[in-house]
C-alpha cells in the first residue's frame, strides 16, 4: 500500500490508506483522528467536510488523499492560527446550535474572508452554500460581519 504525506495544520503526517482514492475526509477523521471535520453527505453537497486545501475551500469528501498530498491543508483544528477572529465572533454571536455543520461553515467563512475581507450580503450569500439543518444562517451572517469588523 502506498504512503502519502499530508501537511495538516502545519505538520507533516505520513498516512497509509487502504486505497489511494480514499477521500481526505476519512484520512483526517479516522487515520489522523482530526474529527472536527464532519461527514455529512459524501457527495459534495452539504460542506460539513469543508477544509482549506492550498488556501482554497474544498469539500474533503471528494478530494482524494493523493490529490491532497503535497498541498497545505487547514482543518477546523488549525483555524485559530489562520483566523481566530472568526471563532471569537462565532462565540460572541452564539452561532452554533447542534454544531455539526459549523466546522465546515467556519472554514468556508475563513476562505471567504481571505479572498474578500469586507464581503457584502450578496457575496456572503454566494460564498456560503453550507447546509445547516438547525437554522443558524442569520447568525452565521452576523458572525462573518463581526469577524470582518463590519458588525
Amino acid at each position: 500500500m502506498p504512503s502519502y504525506t499530508l501537511n495538516v495544520n502545519g505538520k507533516n503526517h505520513t498516512v497509509t490508506p487502504s486505497s489511494s482514492d480514499m477521500p481526505l475526509l476519512w484520512a483526517l477523521r479516522d487515520i489522523l483522528g482530526l474529527t472536527g471535520t464532519k461527514y455529512g453527505c459524501g457527495i459534495e453537497r452539504c460542506s460539513a467536510c469543508a477544509v482549506l486545501v492550498g488556501g482554497e475551500v474544498e469539500k474533503s469528501c471528494e478530494v482524494s488523499i493523493s490529490e491532497a498530498s503535497q498541498r497545505k491543508i487547514t482543518t477546523i483544528e488549525g483555524l485559530s492560527s489562520l483566523n481566530s477572529k472568526l471563532q471569537a465572533a462565532w462565540i460572541e454571536e452564539q452561532v452554533p446550535q447542534c454544531g455539526y455543520c459549523q466546522s465546515g461553515m467556519l472554514m468556508a467563512a475563513a476562505s471567504l474572508l481571505r479572498q474578500n475581507p469586507k464581503p457584502t450580503d450578496a457575496e456572503i450569500d454566494g460564498a456560503m452554500s453550507n447546509i445547516c439543518a438547525c437554522g443558524t444562517y442569520p447568525r452565521v451572517r452576523k458572525g462573518i460581519k463581526r469577524a470582518a469588523g463590519m458588525a
Binding site: R29, I131, T136
Partner: protein, 748 residues
Amino acid sequence: MSRRTEVLGDSLEKVIDASVSRRQFVGGMVGGAFVLAVPFTTGTAKAAASGGNIGTWISIGTDELVTIICPSTEMGQGVSSALPQIVAEELMVDWSKVKMQLGDAKPAFTNRLFGSQGTAGSTSIRAYYEGLRKAGAQAREMLVSAAMNDRSITGLGGGTRSQYTATAGVVKNTSTSKTATYGQLAAAAGALSVPPNPPLLADGSPRLIGKSVKRLDIPSKVDGSAIFGIDVRLTGMLNAAVRLAPKVGQTLGTVGRAPTGVQIVKLKNDAGKYIGIAAVTSKTTWDALRAARSVNVSWIDAPTTAAVDSVTMKANASALMTSGKAVSAKSKGNPTPAIAAAAKKLTATYSAPYLAHAAMEPLNATAQVVTGKSCEIWAPTQNPSGSVTVAKTLTGLGDSAVQLHQTMVGGAFGRKYETDFVSYAVQTAMATAGKPVKLTWSREEDFTHDLYRPASLCNFTGGLDSANKPVGITSKTVSQSIYAGRGWLGPNAVDPSAVEGLLMNGGTEEIAYSLGDNQLAEWVYDTGAQVPLGFWRSVGQSYNVFFLESFIDELAHAAGADAIAFRKAMLPRGSKDLAVLEALESASGWTTAAARGTGRGVALARGFGGTICGEVAEVTGSIAAGIKVKKVTAVIDCGTVINPDTVKSQIESAVLQGMAAAMWQEMPFSKGAPTRSNFNSYPMGRLANAPVINTTIMPANGNPPSGVGEPGLPPIAPAIANAIASLTGTRLRSLPLLPGSAPAGGDD
C-alpha cells in the same frame, strides 16, 4: 492545575480520543474531584426506590470549577447550558466557573414528564426546573453548613446560618468577615447529609435565570473539539457500516461472500426479522462504507412493499376522505347544521407530505459488549432510557451491566429518539468478540431508513353568518398513525398526534378560538399505507397548524376581514393568546401597509406545555418566478425564560427548518422505496434563502417555564402560505408549497 483538571482536560469532550484511555473517560468524572452528591428529588418514585443509583448532579473541584450534569440530550437547543444555569442560579457561583457534563443513562436522571430519561416534546426545562433549583440550593446550604462546621480557618465557623452569605463561590461569616471558597469547603460539604427543603432565593432577585449567558457547548463547537457520536474513537475500536433493506417491509434474503478482512453481521429489527447487515472492518469508516455497499445481498418483499408508493397512497387517502370510517376526536355544539344554515359556506382540502428528519449527523452508535458481562454504549441519542432497554433485551444483561454515555448530537428533530441505530450497534458489537465497534450509517441509509413525519390529508368546512362572524367548523383528517405503529392505539381511538393543533378547546395546549364552541374534528385511520413513521419536530402540529391557520385565513378572506382582526375577534379577552397576537400585530408593523410587492401572512399556535407562538411572514416575488420569504416576526410566550438568547435562537431554528419544510421538502415513495437519498435530491434551506427573523419574548408574569424547542415551527408554514395568498391571490393548500423553487446550492 488541580487533579481533576488533569483528569478531565479542558472539557469532557476532549477526552474521548484514541490517545487517552477509555477508563479515564468513563471514570474521570469523580477521579480526584470532591463531589457533592445531590440527589434530584423530583424524579419518579421508581427512580428513588431503585436506590444506589442516585445521580451525582454537581461536583466542585479544588480549582473552584463547578461541574453540573445535563441529563437531557444536547442536540442544538442549548439545554446543556440552560439546565446548569438553573442550578448555578441557586448555587451562587459565577457562570465562568461552571462546566457541563452530559449525563449517562441513569434512573436518577429521569425526565418526570416522561417517566424516563429522554429529550422530546420540548419538555426539558419544564421537567427539571424545580428539581434543579432545589439541587442548587441544597448544594449551597451544604457548603454553608461546611463553613459553619469549619474549625481549620480561625474565625470562620460557628454562629448561626443568618450570619453567613454564599456569593460567587465564596461562603462568608459576616460577623468575622472570614471566608472560604467552595473549593475549600467541597470535601467537607460532600460528607454532610442533603437538606430536604433548602430555602430558594427570593423571587425577584434572579442573577442568572433570565440572562443571556454564553452557552457552555459553543466553544467546543467552533474549534472542532466537541465529540458527537460519530466522533467517538476508542482504543482497539472497529469501524462498521450499515446496509438495510432498500424497500419498506423487505427482509434479508441471501448474503454473499464478505470482502477480505470484512466481517458481515446480520441485523434484526425489534420484531426479530433480519432486515440488513453491518460490514465490520479494522480499517476506516470509509472502508466499512465501501464494504457494506459491495456485498451481494438479496431482499425479500413483504406483501405490502409495492403499495408503498406515493401515487397509490395519495389515491387511497382521497378515497378514504369520502368513504373511510371516521372517528370523532372532538365534537362540541352543532357545527354541521350551523354551517348548513350559514350565509357563506367554505370548504377546502389541504395536504402535507411525508418528511425525512435530515439531521446533519448521520445515524451512528458505538458499543462494546462482553458476553454475559457488560454492554457499554456511546450514542447521539435523544432516548438514553429506551436505548438501555433495547441493549438489555438484546444482551440479556441486567441494569447494572449496561452503561450508556450520551455524546453531543448533531441534530435529531425526533429521529434520534428511536432506538434502531443503537440496537444495530449493539447487535454488531455482540458479534465482535468484545471489541468496541462504531456503526455508521451512510447519508443514503439515513435518508432511506428514516421513520418519516406522516403525510396527512385534511378537509375543512366552515361558515360565516350574515354579519361575517364564524359560526362553526369541521375538520376531517386522513392519515397513518404513529401511535398504531408502536402498539399505542386502542380500538376506535384517535391518535392524538394526528389531530393535535386542530382542536380548539382552549386550555393549555390549544388556541381558544371561539369557533371551538361549534366544532367537529374527525380522523380516518389510513391502515393501507405502511410507511414507517416517527416523531418530527412539533409532530402533528407541524401540519395541523398549517391546515387550521390556512383555513382560518380563508374564512377571514371570505369575511372581508383583516387576518389579525378576524383572529382577535375570536380570542377571549384577557387571554395570553390574544396578548401574543396583539404584540405580534405591533412588532410586525401589521397596521402599516406592507410595501408594494410584499405580502404578509399571520399564524398562531399553542402547545408544548402552554407556549403560544405567533408569526408574521413577509414574502415577495410571484409563484411563477419564485417566492422569497424576506422577513419573519415572531412573538413567543413561554413563561419563565432561562436564557432569552437561546429562546431566540430556537425560534430562528424552528422558523428556518419549518420554512424549508413548508416551501420545498417532501419524501416521495415509488414501488416500495423512498426516492430521495441525499442532499442532491432532498432540498434544504441555504443561507441565501434565510429571511431576517425578529423575535419578541413576552414577559413571564410569574408563569412557570413551558416549551421552547418546537413551538416556533408550526406557525411558519401557514404564515408563509397566508402571505403568498395575500400577495398573489392564489391559495396554496398542499405542502410543500413551491417544490420547484428549491435552492440548489452546494454545487460542485
